[in-house]
């Protein structure tokens, strides 16, 4: 592996982060040079120097190997999270070193868990940087650079192959350049559309932009302590619900739907499964809340139940209610949705609907095979026969995912954290959903979690974001010959 090539591309990613730090400093300046201005400016200078330094020496390379691709992607995520903690750490307040690292990783991986007791105490510049980390991480820090840099030759293809979810490539029936253009158009378009709609619904411009960044990236950082509940507006909740739902769909399919192509949301089996599971799950939760008397009528129950279901399924983590006090059935259903999450090719984390559906179909095929031992049973998705390797990889991913969740629960329990909190903390971090149950419920935060447990949470967030195997590649680099 050529380390200097890896350093060059990580440098580019850091330079992009520096631009967003400068933008945040600009926001700070526009708000009467609030207390975040100097920390953001200092972070910008330090990150820009660190990022641009390798570019002085290393010439552009047209070819990179797969090993270098993994090195760049994993290295970029880690470095982005490291420099991302600078504004927090320099600003102070509730941000100790570990808290700043937690907030930064949670931002870039679009988990949306926070350590802040008082989000509203943050100056606007820092709130904007917090939302920016979501927006940068939503589409992937490396992917973002590929989107904004005009030409990188075959490097672009290699890096996008490593960064994109292995399940996502199927619905992108285009060349790499076209895929990136689609991602850019859909990502920016959705963000702009939501910002505008939120503004019309009565939100201020600043909140509208920050919350749109969070929604489209399926992050969950809000500018208010009470999350979306603070606005107490049905229209705002409906807009956010719609965009959370959309952001959990494959971006290629959204583009196909908008441009009238055959490869669209309505024809996709996975999209239908995703929408139907949310709808049924949301209604069951709403009915359960209504029957158990949590809300006065079914419609109010549906308003809160559906919002939380979509929020958890899309791994956004916004809240309009304290789900920790809901009935056991509602809690367990929401936990199951935290496992499943959105579709591949979206900004959502977790196991993803694609793998779930593929596994269900594989189980069904196995059952038929047992009844008819001589029959050749193929697993099909959207009418296309799936190779055994794809099915095996999906099942293997789910097994490793569940093993890690189990391991995480045991480790967190060792910190004297109760079982519900330990389990939900692990799945919320792995799925990048953010909002858990128990002590880390939708209206709580991670402030009181022990420092070492916070650090472990960030490891799970990165594992989830890089789809486990991508992150683990980093530790196997020495064996790559």
């Amino acid at each position: 592996m050529r380390l200097y090539i890896v350093l060059r591309y990580i440098g580019l990613i850091l330079a992009l982060n520096a631009i967003f730090m400068l933008l945040s400093a600009g926001v700070s300046l526009l708000n009467g040079m609030d207390s975040a201005f100097y920390p953001l400016l200092q972070s910008f200078v330090l990150t820009a120097i660190l990022g641009l330094f390798p570019l002085i020496f290393v010439p552009k390379s047209q070819q990179i190997s797969n090993t270098e691709g993994y090195g760049i992607v994993v290295g970029s995520w880690l470095m982005a999270c490291l420099v991302g903690m600078l504004p927090y750490d320099l600003w102070g307040g509730e941000f100790t070193l570990i808290n700043a690292w937690f907030e930064s990783v949670s931002g870039f991986t679009t988990t949306g868990s926070t350590i802040l007791n008082d989000v509203e105490a943050l100056p606007k510049g820092l709130l904007f940087w917090r939302a920016s980390t979501h927006w940068l991480g939503g589409v992937g820090v490396v992917m973002f650079v590929l989107l904004v840099l005009p030409s990188m030759g075959s490097t672009k293809m290699r890096l996008s192959n490593v960064e994109l979810s292995s399940m996502a490539k199927d619905n992108f029936r285009y060349q790499t350049k076209k895929i990136l253009q689609i991602l850019l158009v859909v990502y920016v378009g959705l963000t702009a559309a939501e910002t505008l709609l939120l503004k019309i619904a009565g939100m201020g411009w600043f909140d509208a932009v920050c919350n749109s960044f969070s929604t489209i990236a399926t992050g969950g950082f809000c500018t208010k302590n009470a999350s979306i509940a603070a606005y107490n507006s049905a229209s705002i909740e409906i807009i956010i619900m719609f965009f959370m739902m959309i952001s959990g769909l494959h971006f290629g399919l959204i583009f196909g739907t908008l441009t009238g192509k055959n490869n669209n949301i309505f024809r996709s089996e996975i999209s239908r499964y995703y929408a139907l599971s949310i709808l049924i799950g949301g209604c069951v939760i709403a009915a359960d809340l209504w029957i158990n008397g949590y809300y006065p009528n079914f419609w109010t129950s549906l308003r809160y139940g559906l919002f939380e279901t979509i929020s958890v399924s899309s791994t956004t983590g916004f809240a309009t209610a304290d789900t920790s006090i809901w009935s056991p059935l509602a809690i367990i259903l929401l936990m199951l949705f935290t496992f499943q999450c959105g579709c591949a090719g979206s900004t959502a984390g977790g196991i993803k609907c694609d793998r779930m559906l593929l596994s269900f179909k594989a189980i069904k095929a196995m059952m038929i095979q047992r009844q008819h031992p001589n029959a050749i049973i193929r697993v099909k998705m959207n009418g296309v026969i799936q190779e055994n390797h794809t099915v095996n990889m999906a099942v293997l991913f789910i097994i490793v995912y569940l093993l890690l969740v189990g391991a995480g629960t045991v480790i967190f329990s060792a910190f004297n954290i109760d079982l519900e909190t330990s389990f939900s903390m692990t799945i919320a971090s792995m799925a990048n959903a953010g909002s858990g149950f128990g002590e880390v419920g939708s209206m709580d935060n991670y402030h009181n979690v022990p420092a070492l447990a916070k650090w472990l949470c960030t490891v799970f967030m990165l594992l989830g974001r890089l789809e486990i195997f991508g992150f683990l590649q980093l530790f196997l680099i020495n064996r790559w010959k």
Partner: protein
């Protein structure tokens, strides 16, 4: 991004970047330490001023108390002037406090207690002969006097408490003051390591390779062949040596 810098330019830029970082960390540290020094100074100054003013107020009350006591014991009104003198000193110290002290919250209670204290004394002075002086002093006056001195002492205690809170904040500020410089220094160390890696990779290793290949050519006529990345001066040097060794070889063959 395309950089066509030569060795000189690259190394110079590298050192400039490093210098900028160190300068930046220095400036930040200087700025933060100055801020810290100013905060500590203003905190100590405020504490000193508050204590000094509280002491003056207590002295003035004490002076009035002594004058009143002498008046009661001697039944002589010549101590009126001493009493008024104490009152003037109190008012002067209080006015000074209103100008210099930022947190006047505690001083409101002193103001109210002083009004009550003055009223009690004025009432006494109006018809002092008709009263049972010792009884009045032990009951009515003592209450008023205790109220005033307690309110002054409360201000002194609250000043100490504020100082304590400020000291904790200052401790936090000291930690924060070191952070930017520390982070800049850490990044500078990382850049030094990357700088060394690049200089080694792009200049030292190629020069050593050229030197080894040239030595091999001179010793045993091994063809001069070195692979070097980039198009800078080292690459041109390699090409020129390649050309030179080629010419030497062809001349010998002739």
């Amino acid at each position: 991004m395309k950089f066509n810098m030569g060795i000189k330019g690259k190394i110079l830029t590298g050192f400039v970047a490093l210098g900028m970082l160190l300068f930046f960390s220095g400036v930040i540290s200087f700025f933060q330490l100055n801020k810290l020094s100013y905060s500590s100074h203003s905190m100590l100054e405020a504490s000193f001023k508050n204590t000094e003013l509280a002491k003056k107020l207590l002295d003035a009350v004490q002076e009035q108390n002594t004058a009143l006591l002498q008046m009661i014991v001697t039944q002589d009104r010549k101590y009126d002037s001493l009493l008024l003198d104490g009152r003037t000193k109190f008012d002067s110290a209080f006015n000074q406090a209103q100008i210099t002290v930022r947190d006047l919250q505690g001083f409101d209670s002193i103001y109210r207690a002083n009004l009550a204290y003055n009223y009690t004394i004025n009432e006494f002075l109006k018809d002092s002969l008709s009263q049972n002086k010792v009884n009045w002093y032990a009951t009515v006056y003592q209450d008023s006097y205790a109220n005033l001195t307690a309110s002054i002492k409360n201000v002194m205690i609250s000043t100490q408490r504020i100082m304590d809170t400020k000291a904790v904040r200052l401790e936090d500020s000291a930690y924060r003051a070191t952070m930017p410089g520390l982070i800049a220094l850490l990044i500078a160390i990382i850049i030094v390591m990357i700088f060394f890696y690049f200089v080694n990779l792009y200049y030292i290793i190629p020069v050593l390779k050229i030197s080894d290949a040239l030595q091999a050519f001179l010793d045993s006529r091994v063809p001069f062949k070195v692979n070097i990345e980039g198009k800078d001066e080292v690459f041109r040097l390699k090409e020129q040596i390649e050309k030179l060794t080629g010419e030497i070889k062809s001349k010998r063959n002739e």
